[in-house]
């Protein structure tokens, strides 16, 4: 069966008063989007070892239109491959918020699902979808490349069907996710990304976007300062205020 048969483009009857072409373009966009995905693989754990065979000639995920990308700004999928320590989770959050929407998160290995073999450890986060919306979990310890490919195909299917909307959930329920982050990182936790402003920009500001946790964030929020530019290897000089 050719691949294209799996993703039929359905043209539904336009609703009354609606733009006749809007649905068509939405579905076409979703279809095209699902066929060209760039993965940012955040290789925190053991599962990373299954990705090189999945990417390269043995299983070759490029035949599905999926290829690796080095920068979060230019990636669609954030692939978390294994356990996430609390320290790492902060970096993962920063990475996730830097990605441009629409973005998708895949949790690979059982550690991202429920803590896996580190279920009892004080140092690792147990449930990735407490802190960011996860579109798809690929369970296993570790999942083989076949499972990774199957999971990616499922994600492609979900994207084409318009079901992979985790990134919208992050804006709509930002208060919930922020609350879980604050529980772990302390109430002074803040990221350089202004998620609330982004939610406004995307028109996704919902009733659960703002809440007690975002109020707490706004109390503690410090304005960002530009990074200091420095040339050479010498000790940093004190900048006059």
């Amino acid at each position: 069966m050719p691949d294209s048969d799996q993703f039929p483009v359905k043209i539904e009857q336009p609703t009354q008063g609606g733009n006749i072409f809007s649905r068509v373009f939405d579905e076409l966009t979703a279809f095209c989007r699902s066929r060209s995905l760039f993965i940012l693989h955040y290789c925190t754990g053991c599962g990373a070892i299954e990705l090189p065979p999945a990417m390269t000639s043995r299983f070759d995920m490029e035949r599905l239109g999926i290829s690796p990308m080095v920068s979060p700004r230019q990636a669609d999928i954030l692939l978390i491959t294994g356990y996430v320590s609390v320290k790492t989770l902060k970096r993962v959050m920063l990475t996730y918020e830097q990605m441009g929407s629409p973005k998708y998160v895949i949790g690979i290995c059982s550690c991202t699902v429920n803590g896996g073999m580190y279920w009892q450890s004080y140092a690792t986060a147990k449930k990735l979808n407490d802190y960011m919306p996860v579109d798809l979990y690929i369970a296993g310890c570790m999942p083989r490349p076949e499972a990774v490919i199957t999971g990616l195909r499922q994600l492609m299917e979900n994207i084409a069907a318009g079901k992979a909307n985790g990134w919208q959930d992050y804006y709509k329920r930002y208060d919930y996710y922020l609350g879980n982050q604050q529980r772990l990182f302390g109430e002074t936790w803040q990221t350089p990304t202004d998620v609330i402003a982004e939610a406004r920009h995307y028109g996704l500001l919902g009733p659960q976007t703002l809440g007690e946790h975002t109020r707490l964030l706004q109390q503690h929020q410090k304005p960002l300062e530009a990074l200091e530019m420095r040339l050479g290897l010498g000790a940093p000089e004190k900048v006059k205020p």
Partner: protein
């Protein structure tokens, strides 16, 4: 290697200079020395300066809550004899303060910083007692025996929901989890559905 050149034979001369050292030979090239806490720095000086044990491989710490003590083990290696000496000492658990051996062995700085973080033992004279690996950690020292990791996890993390909708879908297709959630070790034992809702 003849018996006359066993590491412990060579050590016997310098060990006489430190009071109350208990020597036990654990193997042909492994020696264990038990020494009082106040004599340990002098013993390390001698071992490094006169016996050639120039390499401090590690400092380990053992918590003995029943004795109310920490045991510190200094692992020393000699490249000339290819032999290992472990110097054991015990310090009181409270207040858990000991002297740094950074001036004798510089790598000790890292090990002491690590032990300070994991056990809360403070080393006087160490160059840096700041956080090392657990930079985001503000709980009690996690390697102490009284630290209950499972209780900490229960307090700070939520467990995965074992009856989500997508699992019902999988079960309808003939899949699902093999071990029932209540029998899994990391299930939320004792947590009933009514507790969840309240």
């Amino acid at each position: 290697m003849s018996d006359a050149h066993l590491p412990v034979e060579r050590l016997s001369i310098i060990l006489g200079e430190v009071k109350d050292v208990r020597v036990s030979q654990r193997g042909p090239r492994r020696t264990r020395l038990d020494v009082a806490a106040d004599a340990l720095p002098a013993l390390l000086e001698l071992l490094k300066g006169r016996a050639g044990y120039v390499h401090l491989s590690a400092i380990s710490c053992v918590d003995w809550p029943a004795d109310d003590q920490f045991e510190l083990v200094y692992h020393l290696w000699s490249y000339e004899l290819n032999a290992l000496v472990s110097v054991h000492t015990r310090i009181a658990r409270d207040p858990g303060v000991y002297v740094s051996v950074y001036d004798i062995y510089h790598p000790a700085g890292f090990f002491e910083r690590d032990i300070h973080e994991m056990y809360g033992v403070f080393f006087e004279g160490a160059p840096d007692m700041e956080k090392f690996i657990l930079t985001e950690w503000d709980g009690p020292p996690p390697m102490r025996k009284e630290f209950d990791s499972e209780a900490w996890v229960n307090e700070h993390f939520d467990w995965q929901d074992y009856r989500p909708d997508w699992l019902l879908e999988l079960e309808a297709q003939g899949g699902g989890i093999v071990i029932p959630p209540d029998e899994q070790r990391f299930s939320r034992r004792g947590v009933t559905e009514s507790d969840d809702e309240s």
